[in-house]
Symmetry: C2
Subunit: 483 residues, 2 copies
């Protein structure tokens, strides 16, 4: 015994001795009331200082794993924690979970997707390129905030969010042309929680939502999990098809609409300013509230800013805007925001509190300090230049190698490729996977089970060399399958 | 114009100029196509360097707020963002939100509670005392983790949680006597999200849950929001009344039970080891899965560790343990964990992903590094000593001043006081509030609308002097009301 003790760095020695002895006791290597080695013996056996052993024994006693006898030394407790277990009952949880949990699992693509083995060229991710992160500014932002109000940051915060960040985002959105009067902001754990909270709070008079088809698959998942029927409207080159949209609005009533007007996921299309105006007029005429996904609005590479739908709505309160910097800055910081009518936000605040009390105050304060310091502007310059280069390279490679019938993507971190009707991209994916290249089969983005002939190519985390190499393989394999 | 420009510290000057000009344009102070002051003029007017103005104008153009004319200078864009707003529609959101959102608001005590004005002695909080936080170790933990894997921490993490933290917590729970074989851990945004995820995934064959009465009011709220009927069982001095519990189990079927065995909220009672054994035997006999709230297990001031229910269950898988360090360490770090059967955790992981993708990786990695460094042990020694002193002072003051019929609290951060039947603590609260003292009226903790004669006194954030002063006022006022 005591031979397999190994010290690890960065953890106090006495705690490692305590952990080790507890493990022996729990696993039965040391029995109840058995005498423990003297502190001198153990320090020799484990090659540690005697003081460390003395501290470890004191902690073992304090935790009820051992007891000391005056003048005789320490003994294992007669009944150390865990030794009093009773005849235990094993149940089948499958029969105890509900359809909601089962549906969440069925719709969880992370459990279905192909794992990328080492060396695979993966176009599946649209997460930012980690190598662009300016860690020093993040560290400095953290240290600055901590020195200003560390105690406050580490205690409970507010469900609505961290006030300085909320105020900053209000001005940020105002500068996108949003009329902030009568509106307010709720901080959430990224877009996903914001969207889920909004859906859980909306009444289901009709139980149906209208949106672009294809669209963000997480949105499809959360709409289904919240019990909504989904009607998808096809896309045109400059955004959703308004003629098809109005037809659908005439045929059926909807509780709300969900749109991704900028760098739409998965098509990468940016809705034209004119279409945004006409879309909002249409929504107003049919009195349909709009959930706008701000997603990666910031990732434009050229041309000037296009105002979000909520700006086009002016002083109206019918748009719920969901914002996030996850695709632009750091997804690890789980911070997003819901911008909407202030009375609605006041209600949503209670739903948020019941779910997670509040979003990490550290994440919020680091983001605030980072934004205040003007680092977003600097970072965007760098990130845009880098992603623009990759975007143009990917676009060029697709044109050169892939036998597509349609190709879209005005910027952002991905392109969307459509092949001829009847071509199956699941087959293409399987064939490419064998050659070490994977991408996202487009069918998961469709609301009507279609899209078997489409793929999404995310390039943000792929090197220039691999972009060229990977897309060449996709193109060649596609031609082979087409015969 | 330009008179009200004020520079703030910590934000680049050119961005402040840009923000200021955008504001003027949006508010109509500067009209479309109006010529902007020359960079030299503006630098004089705002008392800033000309280079800052040049950078600001460049950004304004980039954002579509202005345009430059060769040799003539810069002009406000003809239609700056937000100026194209359309006739906008205002809707009544009250008619669009559902009963779930309304119930969340009704049960949101943060919107009902009395606000503590400056100088008020408040016994309402059971959050930790911020002055005890060891900020330096938190800062160091952050810097250490960031230097090891900053890029990884800031990009997307895993729904299940941050692996090093999960592994650490597995050993941590094993040392509490838990048989970890066949079990797994899911990291959540504190206890609240963990509890809500579990409830949302459990089937409602009977639509009913059994628990202690009184109990944690957030638990009551989330049980109701998840559509469960609640049956509360009275407390005895050493925990839930097993005779009453078995009666209820014979009368009715329940989908699960919810218990707070250690430092029960609000009574502060610790369930005896014997009772834990008998309770688990009872649950097994009636085949009721148990949700155990580990809440503030760590806050014992004397005696040795009492093993959690999930330890008593041995190799059984019928207990879902919800852990959190929020009451012990830092509530601002929104990190809790669900420890349960590994197949159940695998299902819950998908529910978690659909709600918030994952918990803040920074929070998780800071907590991990802090725990690894052995700081929890050191911090607990300090915190326990401090809280123990306050606990004993509060206990003594209650005995000295308050005309109670029952007083409970074996440790933790609060005591629970019961007055004679018919005595109304809402009246007492109102009368004390006028004298600058507030506490929590106990009725919110009761599952059956009772408890009007009880109060919870949280002492963790009150000074010794105020504890004495405040409780004396509560006692005197109670006697006056009793006449």
């Amino acid at each position: 015994m005591f031979k397999d003790f190994k010290l690890i760095a960065g953890r106090p020695v006495y705690i490692q001795i305590k952990d080790y002895m507890k493990h022996l006791i729990i696993k039965g290597g040391l029995q109840g009331n058995q005498k423990l080695p003297s502190t001198r013996e153990l320090s020799t056996l484990l090659k540690v200082s005697r003081n460390s052993v003395i501290s470890a024994y004191a902690e073992l006693e304090d935790d009820g794993f051992a007891y000391a006898v005056q003048g005789q030394g320490s003994y294992v407790a007669p009944t150390p924690p865990g030794s009093e277990t009773i005849s235990s009952w094993t149940m089948d949880w499958k029969t105890r979970i509900n359809d909601h949990a089962r549906l969440a699992e069925d719709l969880d693509i992370m459990k279905r997707g192909i794992r990328a083995e080492k060396g695979t060229i993966s176009f599946t991710s649209i997460a930012p390129d980690e190598s662009l992160f300016d860690l020093d500014n993040v560290k400095r932002s953290f240290m600055d905030r901590m020195s200003v109000e560390g105690n406050v940051l580490l205690n409970y915060g507010y469900a609505k969010g961290y006030k300085p960040l909320i105020d900053y985002l209000k001005q940020y959105m105002e500068h996108k042309g949003v009329e902030m009067k009568g509106k307010d902001i709720l901080i959430t754990n990224g877009f996903t929680e914001g969207f889920d909270i909004v859906l859980s709070a909306l009444s289901k008079k009709n139980g149906s939502v209208i949106c672009e088809n294809p669209t963000h698959h997480t949105a499809i998942k959360n709409l289904k999990l919240n019990g909504f029927e989904i009607t998808g409207i096809p896309m045109e080159r400059d955004g959703i098809d308004l003629v098809e949209l109005e037809k659908a609005l005439q045929e059926q009533a909807f509780d709300c609409a969900y749109f991704v007007p900028s760098y739409h996921n998965p098509t990468g299309i940016v809705m034209s300013p004119e279409k945004r105006q006409r879309l909002m007029k249409l929504m107003n005429r049919y009195q349909i509230p709009v959930i706008e996904d701000g997603f990666n609005e910031e990732l434009r590479y050229s041309g000037s800013h296009v105002a979000p739908l909520i700006a086009a709505a002016g002083s109206g309160n019918s748009v719920i805007y969901l914002g996030s910097f996850s695709k632009v800055l750091f997804p690890g910081l789980r911070v997003g925001w819901v911008l909407a009518d202030q009375e609605l936000i006041y209600s949503l605040e209670s739903v948020k509190r019941a779910r997670t009390i509040h979003t990490s105050t550290l994440d919020q304060s680091i983001l605030y300090q980072y934004l205040l310091g003007g680092h977003l502007e600097k970072y965007l310059k760098k990130a845009r230049a880098e992603y623009k280069r990759k975007y143009e390279l990917t676009l060029q490679c697709c044109k050169e190698f892939i036998p597509y019938t349609a190709l879209s993507g005005d910027g952002g971190l991905h392109l969307f490729v459509t092949f001829a009707e009847g071509f199956n991209t699941r087959t293409l994916l399987a064939a490419c996977h064998e050659q070490g290249v994977i991408f996202t089969a487009g069918d998961i983005f469709f609301t009507d089970g279609k899209g078997q002939n489409t793929i999404r190519i995310g390039f943000s985390r792929v090197t220039d060399e691999d972009i060229r190499k990977g897309i060449e393989i996709i193109g060649r394999t596609a031609r082979q399958l087409m015969g």
